[in-house]
Amino acid sequence: MADTIKIKKGLTINLLGEATKEVSDYSPSEYALKPTDFTGVFPRLLVKEGDLVNAGTPVFHDKLKERIVFCSPVSGVVKAINRGEKRVLQEIVITPDEKLSYEDFGKLDSSSLSREEIIEKMVKSGVWPMIRQRPYTIIANPDDKPKSIFVSGFDSSPLAPDLSFVISSELPLFKAGMDVLMRLTEGKLHLGLPAGQNELAGIKGVETTFYSGPHPAGNVGVQIHHREPINKGDIVWIVNAQDVLVIGRLFQLGVYDPAVTIALTGSEAGKQGYLRTRKGASLKGMFPRDAKTEGNMRIISGNVLTGEKVRHDGYLGFYHQQVTVIPEGNHHEFFGWAMPGFSKFSFSKSYFSWLTPGKKYKLDTNLHGGERALVMTGQYEKVFPMDILPMQLIKACIIEDIDLMEKLGIYEIDEEDFALVEFIDTSKTDIQKIIRKGLDLVRKEMS
């Protein structure tokens, strides 16, 4: 019988704009791979503008680990290669063909292959970047032997898609993908699910754990912490639940088909629903007619806590399964800090909105205050469900004390685990940035 772990600390942010459970297909006129999605990768292009590619044709690889290739999600023509400041590669834009053609990687059942052969196939076909490692949340090294592998079967962040709903229609593929992952570790393959009935429960050989409680219960970092906490030197691999389907497809059908079902969410996204599309889909034409994407809006690939700000004609991030549209908050508010605040969302009960706990809010991107010193203590702990001292770890990152970061548990966390801390922070500090810098520093020092 699977265990249930109660997550007590955390916060569910009630936002307007949840996606209704209706799935439609979305085939945009462009796709793009964004090398910036991959932390720590130095991209080297393998194609040039005008080249024809298939779904699964390598588009670029990592200069430092040339084995790791990143493949086109569709067949078509390389339309543009966009660079940003200092010629940093930003986007490789691909216009899809009418009819998709795939590179053939061969239909082979994973049970007939050795671990090395499985990894070789995953690396060659471009699914390997879906396998990431903790610590640091970077693409896993195929030569490593992870202590265990974790898949979080639900997303608890604000307005996130219901993964059981998305995956249950393709359950056999999910099982096939999980069978592949099982072969990659000598340890356990963990699957975290929300407490209650779930279609994804009961896969043979998978260590299932149920989690109850508010966000961040669905964060894989929280789940690892409660099942197999990472000590210095440990490596744990993590995979997004929808990417397990892509891995399943590779072994069952022999193709690289990075399909993903995303939720269109946020108070300004119009009539919300689920869209079946592919990684890197262009957002141009994604929104229904009643969406307000032009003008003073923030369009986010991902969720409001950890997502990336994109243009209204930008592209879906590689690891994202949600697009959110909320209003920008670049306006002054007269005596805003002194108002009763019935419609202001706050974790503290300093505004009267605590009288209406079930209310859903339309929140904008305003900081709601100026940046200050880290004055309030004991706040972060209330939304940080790990046996780690968040304030002290943040301070260790600020002073770049690697030894102290290590002692305070830097290996166990990722910036997304600090998203709620950043949200409720009174001092308006960019805490996720501080954590990312700390993680990068440790990684540089250790390699």
Binding site: V304, K309, E333, F335, H368, L389
Partner: protein, 386 residues
């Protein structure tokens, strides 16, 4: 409102670098952000943010202090007319109190904020809101007959040496308001001790009726006159002489409720402080070597500024222990020592101030041990796997 906004936007460039009033940059910012929540937005990470900021936090603390302040104003008038043996209407009592207390509040704010603004400009950062609370706490822990210049000197001392010398808000080791009180206590002992300073006009002593001493319950207890302590009713509601804000326990409990419910004050410190105070009193009761030791826990807690200190002073998030477990230890010891100092050393009738300042000193050490134990747990876990 639009006109005001337009006006601010028009004059703003003059306060920026190269502008005419560049030197008043921080001052302008302070007033602008006071009137308007800034229009700055998030860039990455969490795209939405909680509506709370330091201004809101501090205004909730101020709100929590209001009952104590209002009662303090009333009680100042009440004690005054009591000392004269006159009866007066509520309006008379309150306006007399206001006339006495308001100047102390104004002086504390004006002198402290002036220093804050100068330092903010000098350091080129925004004016922090922390002093809004300190500036209210300072008057509330002062005796009402204090000369105003002493309030000014102690406020300035508190801001410069208590806060800015350590790097400003968030970096200070000692609670600034308590430091102001301690400064005045040791610098001008003659003016701040004795029985007469707690009642307005009693220092001059004109027209005072016979038999009115103005002694606080603590002074009576210290002299062994525990049979002359005020009734529990008076102690609880605060119809007693004492520092302006400390007398009414009811007002303090209302303040504590606001702090705890809003999630801004640490209930851990308050509860632990109370536990600490009760524990040492029970020990004293068991020993009972002198009259002071025989006072029951409830009366001990109700006397002096014990409750005020535990609710508003010990809970200062910057100078208290920062870890949750540390807050328990810190609060307990603060309460423990507060009663201990008061009972053992009659020269310091009020131990709360010294106990909290002492615990401010030890807070980083307490945190150090809490952090070390967290680190050890992690190392032990790593070894258990191997």
């Amino acid at each position: 409102m639009k006109a005001l906004r337009n006006y601010l936007d028009r004059i703003k460039p003059q306060f920026r670098e190269g502008g005419k009033f560049e030197k008043l940059h921080s001052t302008f910012d302070a007033f602008e952000t006071f009137l308007y929540v800034p229009d700055s937005t998030t860039t990455s990470g969490s795209h939405i943010r909680d509506a709370v900021d330091l201004k809101r936090t501090m205004s909730v603390v101020l709100l929590a202090l209001m009952p104590a302040l209002l009662f303090g104003i009333w009680n100042t008038g009440y004690q005054h007319y009591l000392s004269l043996g006159q009866t007066a209407s509520f309006g008379q009592i309150f306006s007399f109190g206001l006339w006495k207390v308001l100047p102390i509040v104004v002086v504390a704010y004006a002198s402290g904020l002036a220093v804050e603004f100068i330092f903010a400009q000098y350091r080129k950062h925004e004016v922090n809101e922390g002093y809004l609370v300190s500036g209210m706490l300072i008057p509330l822990v002062m005796p009402v007959d204090i000369p105003l210049w002493m309030v000014a000197v102690s406020s300035i001392f508190a801001v410069i040496l208590g806060k800015e010398a350590f790097g400003g808000t968030g970096m200070n080791v000692f609670n600034p308001a308590l430091l102001a009180r301690a400064f005045i206590f040791f610098a001008y002992p003659a003016q701040i001790t004795g029985d007469t300073i707690w009642t307005a006009g009693l220092t001059k002593g004109t027209g005072v009726i016979d038999g009115f001493s103005g002694a606080t319950p603590l002074a009576r207890a210290a002299s062994g006159a525990i049979d002359k302590l005020p009734s529990m009713h008076d102690l609880f509601f605060g119809f007693i002489p004492g520092s302006i804000g400390e007398t009414s326990k009811l007002a303090i409990i209302i303040g504590a409720a606001i702090l705890i419910l809003s999630g801004i004050g640490s209930w851990r410190i308050m509860v632990a402080g109370l536990l600490g105070g009760v524990t040492i009193t029970l020990i004293f009761n068991a020993v009972a070597a002198n009259a002071y030791m025989t006072i029951d826990p409830l009366t001990q807690v109700m006397m002096g500024s014990f409750l005020f200190g535990m609710v508003f002073m010990a809970t200062d998030p910057v100078t208290a222990a920062q870890t949750n477990r540390g807050k328990w230890i810190y609060g307990f010891l603060a309460g423990f020592f507060a009663i201990m100092v008061r009972v053992f050393n009659p020269a310091y009738p009020e131990g709360t101030m010294l106990a909290i300042l002492l615990m401010n000193t030890f807070a980083p050490l307490i945190d150090h041990f809490v952090i070390e134990s967290n680190i050890k747990r992690r190392l032990k876990r790593a070894k258990a796997v191997v």
